[in-house]
Symmetry: C2
Subunit: 577 residues, 2 copies
């Protein structure tokens, strides 16, 4: 491997121009302003101290800038991964094995190492097993859980758990304890952020403000809310009024440290780490591809694994928690004019500056403000469009998305992803386990053979022609046997069965066994088995078994030649007719 391939940053660093620096710098300012409240908020969502959000937005950005293959992807804490972190960390921390922060850091380390290993082994294909309905349903369900969970800080009550039933139970039990001033702060923040998100652009446009300055103002909305509410909270002593505040945050940069590792903890966290890493990778690649396509820049999924792996490892050694390429932050970065990953490096410097200078001020920040930031950010992730499309399109896809959403809402994120993958793989196997087999007949005066149920075709009482519309493998081998015997049983004068295989792309060992069984049992009934239109690669594998020597009939290149040859045989041997 060439050095440059391992370090994609070298490509854009060479010949990096002043123009690019200006563009990247301006994008970095917008992204930094957006990231400060978001980082703090997602750390709280993950059940961690707020400063860990800042730490997860410094070194990981630089690591991705060096090793990632996307020019404009922006990594850091994101909503769904933070919810998954909360769930995984909560499970081990509640057992008293370890504190939340150490578990979250170990989660980032494990995920980072797994991603890098997958990248080096070119195992990116594993992510393809998560189907689009599963990913889409999972994100929608997670967003619903996150949004509902924010009702806790917005109402000033403590909602535990990350499933619909537990959130509902807590909400019901504590609703009376809701804190009026906290509600006022939260509702005000949500209202302002919603207005900023959906109206401010057009308002600024009407005032003649467009482009980057307008963008900067719109993206500053969360910081503006903070800028208004921190002094307000300090002046009106929200703290003594009972409004939950962010409180003391250590000032300065994170200390480098090796995560707290124990074998027991690794066993407990391996699966969640893998799922967080995989979902994060899928989200990143999807964002990276979308943005890359707009500028004709290619995303290399295997390099992307290494980039994200490096980012998570960097998070682990600098006091952070799992990070990934976020959709909204990357779009903001792209729209703000970022040309290269230099924008992310500069944003990291911005966050580092914030960690050093701003932390004392954050003491007075009401948590409700951060909850409002999360709420407004995640509602755009809720997308019922896929359910509607899947419902219209295909039952298997519909069930995959419904199962994923239902299990995620009721049993949590891990069970949700696993059930979704199980459902989509299971449904796919089920679907191909009862493939379409058509009894075919000859279209008059042609060499074409079509389904007897759909077309007016000619058949021969001595010959059963069946077209198999699927590769033959373990899940459908038994079904093939059943179908052939069922059709053969309907025909008293049967002498030949021809399986027409133009759509058979593979025959595995279980299916070979089934074909042997069909051959043997037909032979016992004095019926010969033939195959027609067998593809080259399939023929190659069959030749490596003994099937062809056992086969009572022949292999024909075209189905028509098979029928002609077998008819000619009957005429030559009238005893058979």
């Amino acid at each position: 491997m060439k050095f440059e391939q391992a370090l994609p940053a070298l490509e854009w660093l060479r010949g990096y121009s002043r123009g690019s620096l200006i563009n990247d710098g301006l994008a970095a300012i917008i992204v930094t302003i957006m990231l400060i409240p978001q980082s703090l908020a997602y750390a709280l969502l993950a059940g961690l101290p707020a400063e860990m959000g800042l730490y997860a937005s410094i070194l990981p950005l630089i690591a991705y800038a060096l090793f990632g293959s996307s020019r404009t992807l922006s990594v850091g804490p994101v909503a769904v991964a933070s919810l998954m972190t909360a769930s995984a960390v909560g499970a081990v921390a509640s057992q008293g094995v370890v504190d939340y922060a150490s578990a979250a850091t170990l989660l980032a380390l494990l995920g980072g190492l797994m991603l890098m290993a997958m990248g080096l082994l070119k195992f990116g294909f594993v992510s393809h097993f998560l189907s689009q309905p599963v990913v889409s349903g999972f994100i929608t369900a997670s967003a619903i859980i996150i949004a509902l969970g924010q009702l806790g800080p917005l109402l000033g009550i403590a909602l535990k758990g990350a499933t619909l039933p537990s959130l509902g139970h807590d909400l019901y039990m504590q609703l009376r304890e809701a804190h009026t001033l906290t509600i006022a702060v939260g509702a005000g923040s949500v209202a302002f952020l919603l207005l900023a998100r959906y109206r401010l652009s057009s308002l600024l446009g009407a005032l003649g403000l467009r482009g980057r300055p307008a963008e900067l103002i719109v993206r500053s909305a969360p910081v503006l809310v903070m800028a208004v509410l921190i002094p307000l909270s300090a002046a009106m002593s929200f703290e003594s009024a009972g409004v939950p505040l962010v409180g003391q945050i250590p000032s300065g940069l994170p200390a480098f440290s090796a995560p707290n590792i124990s074998w027991l903890l690794i066993q407990e966290l391996a699966l969640p780490a893998f799922l967080i890493a995989l979902i994060g990778f899928i989200e990143s690649v999807s964002v990276g591809k979308t943005l890359g396509a707009k500028r004709r820049q290619r995303i290399d999924p295997d390099q992307e694994l290494i980039g994200l792996g490096a980012a998570n490892t960097a998070a682990a050694i600098s006091g952070g928690f799992p990070v990934t390429g976020g959709f909204s932050r990357s779009v903001v970065n792209f729209d703000a004019g970022a040309e290269t990953q230099m924008a992310s490096v500069l944003a990291a410097l911005g966050i580092a500056l914030a960690a050093v200078l701003l932390t004392p001020m954050l003491y007075f920040l009401p948590k409700a403000v951060l909850a409002a930031t999360i709420l407004v950010a995640v509602i755009s992730l809720i997308d019922f469009g896929t359910i509607a499309l899947a419902r219209r399109y295909r039952a298997a896809d519909f069930w995959a998305v419904v199962i994923t959403i239902t299990v995620t809402l009721l049993a949590g994120v891990e069970m949700g992803v696993l059930s979704g993958v199980g459902a989509s793989v299971g449904l796919h196997l089920y679907h191909t386990s009862r493939p379409h087999f058509a009894v075919v007949g000859q279209v008059p005066e042609s060499e074409h053979y079509r389904n007897v149920e759909r077309h007016d075709v000619m058949t021969d009482p001595h010959i059963l022609s069946m077209r198999i519309d699927e590769s033959l493998y373990f899940a459908n081998a038994a079904y093939l046997e059943d179908m052939v015997f069922a059709q053969a049983a309907l025909r008293e004068d049967l002498l030949h069965v021809i399986l027409m295989c133009p759509a058979v792309n593979a025959i595995d060992l279980s299916a070979l066994e089934a074909l042997e069984e069909i051959n043997t049992r037909l032979k016992e009934n004095k019926v010969a088995l033939h195959l027609s239109e067998v593809k080259g690669p399939v023929m190659d594998t069959l030749q490596r078994s003994n099937f062809l020597t056992h086969l009572s009939g022949e292999i024909f290149l075209s189905h028509h030649s098979a029928v002609m040859a077998l008819r000619a045989k009957e005429t030559a041997d009238p005893a058979l007719t």
Copy 2:
């Protein structure tokens, strides 16, 4: 459902003749003689008191006789299910949750209820997900573990665990403690049983003894060993010499009782119960089909689930443990001339008689004799032929069998089955995730299109024709995108991409998304996307989405008409050429 369908026994009971009764009766005698030592031995293999083996061979046989669909299948304790029972029961019993016997009984109950539920829901297809290499590899590995485990009682030492490393470790640590007299008893029994199995038939034949009498003698070998060694053991007081004996067995029939049920235990045992039931079902159906085919009797897999479910439930309420249709016992039953399940009913009576009359004598039976019975029975299950065949045939099948055997040997039966299923499903998905896509060209002076790499064909610089040799779904959707863009990037003057879909049997939502993406990106590059030879059912699903309205090109019935139409368009609009 008709009453007779629910109770297949009614079919053969009606018009049951005296001749059948004689045949069934003689078969029952042979099977009973074979079953007495086997039942005791498999109970010990499962880590249970010996009498549970007898109990599992009474009521379950009658339950299967009523509800099962095979005329000659013989159910009862079998080697592999007993090993799996030992593993599952050992895991919960070692935690002190419950005693071994209660756990084994609950295992039978759970498995029985699951099988019946699957039968009523017609969920037999679930068993198709266990591919032939996985089942075959699993049985071979289990047989190796069982055979090695018998070295414990044969040497008079205590081997715990059911994996190669733990057996090896125990064997190494205790080899010095091996007990000479026990070894002599064990080695003598093994030698006699091997001789009986592989030589006695031909010896008796040379003496002019053939048919059923000869069969009876051969099958009596294990009982003969018992008949010799029980008096010997009593007379020479093997017990005080330190030979481990079967010891006190309660005399009489099992008491009916409801199994000891707790929610915690059910959670722990649900997965092993399911795996034992599933493996047992697969073994039964495979034996039943083989025997049924010889007499043109049909096996109904869904009825078979109900029959095996009833047998296991019967085992649970009468003090037994998981049972299934065994290969060797069913073949013996069949070969001995059994015509109907009346043979099993009579064999059950024979075992019941043994439980009442013989148990006092079993006190002096050396455990080494039972171990010898198991050892000689399971070595015939070890079959490396499948590995060799799979190796020659197809890499995916080879890896599935190797992974199953390796994991079963090293990590035990449950992990072995699960890894095997995971591997075969994973390999199948991996295989179809990188399907064969061929760039095709026109065979000169024909309407056929073939792979440009294999044939001498004509291509057009403006048209890229790609044939897709697989259904499109989530696992290969990303690969399709990559392939199309990679091929499109090689052609500077490209105007049209035609995807030829004769082997595409389905397009799921993830693949639809990929096609939308391909369409969009090609359109941005002023290239039109067309499809040809789309199958009816696939076209039906596509029409339920918006893809056809977004599609920049057209859908053509035949690939040739697509190429002709697009060429005609170019000629009509010379600006494009």
